[in-house]
């Protein structure tokens, strides 16, 4: 029996953490993630988990302590966002390089300056190349479900990599919505007991961690990370999703295809804004326009072949990015273009930057983009490849 509750996204992920009961959790408060760790600290204070929480003095130390704890040999979780994730940046690479299955909730927040506490995806996109598996979530339910699955993916013997789960700060993190929680025993059974590989605390078999590796072997270490991300993670994500569907009844893939089957035009959009955009896709469908939407879930590794298959037959696609690579295209746009490029026949693709620093993504924004796609589909002509939308005059 599922428990149906009305909770915030932060509460939902805190509840997943409670059910999983990690051995160690090291975290630092930052808006809008703070509520998540407050809730979890309350679980610890009231004996609902026996997790040892380390309330560190910075996010850099949070990730450092997670690395120490995971190397020691146990299950480790943390949460952060925005500037906190940026401060962790150095250590993100250490966590993946040391192949530590740490799970981190990222309650997406913009980066300074100017300082802003609201949602965009600059934080997680900045971590794109750090070797972490990235799962993105439209709403609290997906954030909860992804968090539970992230432990299984990260800890899978074929993977052994850290994983982060994104949800939009405030928009999802602080909004109360309906959510179905799985029973504690189901979650515990699903995630299972954690078996560390080569724990540092195995005092009788001493090992050194974090060696100096120079020109003779470094390249091979990185190749090993590439190989697992490139060839192993996708299958594990799908396998875990299939098992998760059995216990939850909720289906997950590498991305969500929304009304894409016969679509001619489509939006590609991450996280909460996909919900708004789907409504607008529906209204276009009602008018007879063959519109669809693709919402990436697994962003790292990026499922290039599958995305190419899903979008290859369309006439025009708009990729909406809630982050910019200044002087370049948005990060999701470049991935979608890379996916489509090998195809002989491919859709026209445009890039819209929206919603930075929590600027609302409104139905009329999606409408305008879809109308532009209709025109591109008819004429085959793209006038502007990259453009900001929702900019105030």
């Amino acid at each position: 029996m599922a428990r149906v509750m009305a909770v915030t996204g932060n509460e939902a992920v805190a509840e997943a953490f409670r059910q999983i009961n990690p051995d160690v959790c090291a975290a630092y408060p930052i808006t809008p993630q703070t509520e998540l760790m407050q809730r979890f600290a309350a679980f610890a204070a009231n004996g609902k988990v026996d997790t040892e929480i380390i309330l560190v003095e910075s996010e850099h130390s949070a990730m450092s302590a997670c690395i120490g704890a995971a190397t020691a040999g146990g299950r480790v979780a943390t949460a952060t966002c925005g500037p906190g994730l940026a401060l962790m940046w150095e250590m993100l690479f250490v966590a993946s390089g040391m192949r530590l299955p740490i799970v981190m909730a990222v309650v997406n927040r913009s980066l300074s300056a100017p300082i802003n506490i609201h949602c965009d995806h600059a934080d997680a996109m900045g971590a794109r190349d750090s070797g972490w598996v990235q799962l993105w979530s439209e709403n609290a339910q997906e954030a909860y479900d992804n968090t539970i699955q992230a432990f299984r993916i990260a800890e899978h013997v074929d993977v052994r990599l850290p994983a982060l789960v994104c949800m939009d700060g405030f928009i999802i993190g602080h909004s109360i919505t309906r959510i179905e929680f799985l029973e504690d025993e189901l979650v515990k059974g699903f995630t299972g007991e954690y078996t560390p590989l080569n724990p540092l605390l195995d005092i009788d078999n001493p090992k050194s961690f974090g060696p100096l590796v120079l020109t003779d072997q470094y390249h091979e270490y990185k190749y090993a990370q590439h190989e697992v991300m490139w060839t192993k993670v996708r299958d594990v994500v799908l396998g875990v999703a299939a098992e998760f569907e059995k216990v939850s009844g909720r289906r997950y893939g590498l991305f969500e295809s929304y009304r894409l089957d016969d679509a001619e035009i489509a939006l590609v959009i991450l996280n909460s804004a996909a919900g708004t955009a789907k409504d607008v896709v529906d209204s276009f469908r009602e008018r007879g326009v063959k519109a669809g939407l693709l919402k990436p879930r697994l962003f790292r590794p990026f499922p290039y072949a599958e995305v190419a298959q899903a979008l290859g037959g369309l006439k025009a696609v708009a990729v909406l990015d809630r982050a910019d690579s200044f002087g370049g295209y948005g990060p999701v746009f470049t991935e979608v273009c890379s996916a489509l490029y090998p195809l002989a026949k491919r859709p026209a693709v445009i890039n819209k930057i929206y919603g930075l620093g929590g600027r609302d993504f409104l139905p009329q924004h999606a409408e305008r983009v879809l109308k532009e796609l209709e025109e591109i589909a008819q004429t085959g002509r793209v006038s502007v490849i990259k453009e900001y939308i929702g900019v105030r005059e």
Binding site: V24, S61, A65, G68, L201, K207, S208, V213
Partner: protein, 312 residues
């Protein structure tokens, strides 16, 4: 309380930092590391080091000199990393997955401790992790090629505070990290020197037997950076103590005790003159720096004795 140290017995114990590491001949760091591990070897020990000379020279893949579990993750975070290890140990012990009593020791240089790592260290100490943090203080960023650090003494010639025709080396005093750590009101804080090995071993042995956060600062001559003779490592450490540049003392549960008082305090020139990094201070126009150096030492030594007398 720690057992009495017997040299004969200690000599029988296994050295936990194996030979074959690539630290310089005459380097103080492995001497200090070996002494620390020897004094702690009543217990199983897990060690951590930040990036630095000791780290890059003791674990070059596929080799390691560490006979005990050891972790390095980055430069500024040995304390946070080891705090994570120690916390996982407590978590697993609570769950009955580990039964051994394990001790946790960080061994870190002054760059990773005084400067870039001070936040991580301060946080770990404030949170009360049950670990010992040992700083081997050689007074500069030696691993990157002798750049000035917060631990570099006044007047020292380093590659980023070169003694030039206008600026006579480092123009600032070193920070007193031991005092800063004592101000955290942790279980145990001490200063030690490999020249006074018995004092050092006793301090480490006492520290590991105590619960909570402990910090020991150990002067560790670096002949490359100090521009000194390879064979003078221990002599220089001794002179640092005898001139009271590096007083040997401890602060145990808030009570200060000076553990070694030189019968005759040597003038600081005795320490400075053996080191090329201070050579320029002996030029007439820089004599004021030596004078200031001596005044600083005298004032701090008097302050320390006064502090000790408060608890006598």
């Amino acid at each position: 309380m720690a057992a009495e140290l017997q040299l004969k017995e200690l000599a029988q114990r296994k050295v936990l930092l194996a030979p074959g590491h690539r630290l310089c001949a005459g380097c103080g760091a492995p001497i200090v590391a070996k002494m620390v591990l020897l004094a702690a070897s009543d217990y199983p020990v897990v060690a951590a080091s930040p990036t630095g000379c000791l780290e890059v020279s003791t674990c070059i893949s596929d080799y390691t000199a560490w006979e005990i579990p050891w972790i390095h993750s980055a430069f500024e975070n040995a304390a946070a990393t080891l705090a994570g290890v120690e916390t996982m140990y407590r978590a697993l012990k609570k769950k009955g997955k580990i039964d051994k009593e394990i001790k946790f020791i960080a061994i870190a240089g002054d760059g990773g401790t005084y400067d870039i790592g001070i936040q991580s260290l301060s946080g770990a100490m404030e949170r009360g992790h049950d670990l010992l943090y040992v700083c081997y203080d050689n007074g500069a960023y030696m691993n990157t090629g002798i750049q000035r650090s917060g631990a570099t003494p006044l007047g020292a010639d380093t590659t980023t505070s070169p003694a030039g025709s206008v600026i006579p080396g480092k123009t600032q005093r070193r920070k007193d990290l031991t005092k800063i750590m004592a101000a955290h009101n942790i279980t145990y804080t001490a200063q030690a020197s490999p020249s006074h090995w018995s004092d050092l071993l006793k301090k480490v042995s006492k520290a590991v037997s105590m619960k909570g956060p402990k910090f020991i600062n150990v002067i560790t001559p670096c002949h490359r950076g100090w521009r000194a003779r390879v064979e003078d490592t221990i002599l220089l450490a001794r002179l640092a103590v005898q001139t009271c540049y590096w007083p040997l003392y401890e602060v145990e549960n808030g009570i200060t005790r000076v553990t070694y008082k030189p019968r005759e305090k040597k003038p600081i020139e005795e320490f400075l003159k053996l080191q090329g990094r201070f050579k320029h201070l002996f030029a007439p126009e820089n004599e004021w720096i030596i004078k200031q150096f001596q005044e600083d030492i005298d004032r701090e030594w008097e302050r320390l004795l006064k502090e000790e007398s408060l608890y006598a």
